[in-house]
């Protein structure tokens, strides 16, 4: 509505001016008096980046603000992918052997370290003693200090692979936990354990 109105008003204004001008300009007495000032022509210089920067350098800067989602995901991670918040673990169990804590469904770290060192010792011993490239035809029998072979004839043990560890059997590496495997020599007439290897 308003644009049309202004359009009509403009038409009327043009008409009025044309009509007045057709009768000649108004007399000079009606003109306004003003002092004319001659303008000094300014040197027109093009705007360049050099004026702004000078000796410095320009760095790239972000153009837009990061959204809240992106900022929070950077800060806390995403629960479906990488969750950065500290979350309490509920799968911790206590080892029945040593009482240390370990994750459920995994070996206990403390027990495993102990067994691992012993295993590696035995493996190294086997490798050292029987690590020649001969064909392997017999099982390995590991004996600790002060242990005897199970009762068999001498011919039975011919060619068997026997590895002797130069130390006492660890207390935890035993099949029979009711009796001590390593005992101090004593005069008592208690029955000593047999067949522990």
């Amino acid at each position: 509505m308003i644009p049309r109105l202004t359009y009509v008003i403009n038409i009327l204004k043009n008409l009025e001016r044309n009509i007045i001008q057709s009768f000649g300009y108004p007399p000079k007495e009606l003109a306004l008096a003003y002092a004319h000032q001659k303008q000094v022509p300014r040197q027109s210089t093009k705007f360049t980046l050099k004026d702004l920067v000078g000796d410095g350098i320009l760095l790239a800067v972000p153009k837009f603000r990061r959204t809240v989602e992106k900022r929070w995901k950077r800060k806390f991670g995403s629960p479906d992918y990488v969750w950065k918040m500290l979350v309490p673990k509920t799968n911790i169990a206590i080892c029945n052997e040593c009482g240390h804590h370990h994750e459920r469904g995994r070996l206990c770290g403390n027990c495993y370290k102990r067994i691992e060192t012993e295993t590696k010792e035995i493996q190294a011993k086997i490798e050292e003693k029987l690590g020649n490239n001969k064909p392997i035809e017999n099982d390995v029998i590991v004996l600790y200090d002060g242990e005897k072979l199970p009762d068999e004839t001498k011919e039975f043990w011919q060619g068997k692979r026997i590895v002797e560890m130069k130390k006492e059997r660890p207390q935890w590496f035993s099949k029979n936990l009711l009796q001590k495997t390593t005992q101090q020599p004593s005069d008592s007439k208690d029955v000593k354990p047999t067949d522990l290897a």
């Binding site: 029945n96 052997e97 370990h102 994750e103 469904g105 995994r106 070996l107 206990c108 770290g109 027990c111 495993y112 067994i115 691992e116 012993e118 295993t119 035995i122 493996q123 490239n133 001969k134 064909p135 392997i136 035809e137 017999n138 099982d139 390995v140 029998i141 590991v142 590895v163 660890p170 935890w172 590496f173 936990l177 009711l178």
Partner: protein, 200 residues
């Protein structure tokens, strides 16, 4: 209808075999995968207990089980089985071990021939799942010593004895109390006038 019984062609393993194999990606592709697995199977047969990444261990375990079960069912006079053993065992003295040590050991087993445990996780490092893979019946100390439920374990024997003692003591106490109350009752029944007379 006329299909052959699949269990007679392929030996049935006693472990869970997933429908798809792992790819174990590397620059050499599928051939590199098999080379990796051959190395692992050889190491397992040689050392009988190894620690390695879980994915590779789980993959190699299936091949080791298959190799042993083939060796048990066909023996060392079967040419294809011997070729399989020659392919999977990089050190040739282990071929002897497979047929002369492992076959007699596992002939009468009803369980799988290998065992796999998840190794304890290392924190503050590369967080890759580790596993311990071992042959059963190895000479090393066992990884799971589940003796806590064994009634003959020394601690359990002592605990049982302590429980028994405690219970006996409690029974004796209860019996003592009951006999005392009974005595009082009988006294009161025999001379009911005695008490009021004493009080007056």
């Amino acid at each position: 209808m006329n299909q052959a019984d699949i269990s007679k062609i392929v030996s049935k393993l006693r472990i869970k075999v997933p429908p798809e194999h792992r790819r174990l990606r590397g620059p050499q592709g599928p051939e590199g995968r098999l080379n990796k697995l051959r190395k692992t199977v050889t190491g397992l047969i040689k050392y009988e207990r190894i620690e390695l990444n879980y994915r590779r261990g789980d993959e190699a375990r299936q091949y080791a089980e298959r190799l042993i079960s083939e060796a048990i069912s066909h023996g060392d006079c079967h040419k294809p089985t011997m070729e399989i053993a020659d392919y999977w065992l990089l050190e040739k003295q282990l071929v002897h071990k497979l047929f002369k040590v492992l076959v007699p050991r596992y002939e009468n087993y009803n369980t799988a021939f290998t065992k796999m445990y998840k190794a304890p996780q290392t924190y503050y490092g590369r967080n890759i799942d580790k596993a311990v893979l071992e042959l059963r019946g190895n000479p090393y100390p066992s990884l799971t010593n589940k003796q806590s439920n064994n009634r003959l374990l020394l601690q359990n024997v002592l605990l049982d004895a302590a429980k028994y003692d405690y219970r006996q003591a409690k029974y004796a106490e209860m019996a003592d109390k009951m006999s005392k109350t009974e005595e009082l009752q009988t006294k009161l029944d025999n001379n009911p006038e005695s008490k009021p007379s004493e009080s007056s």
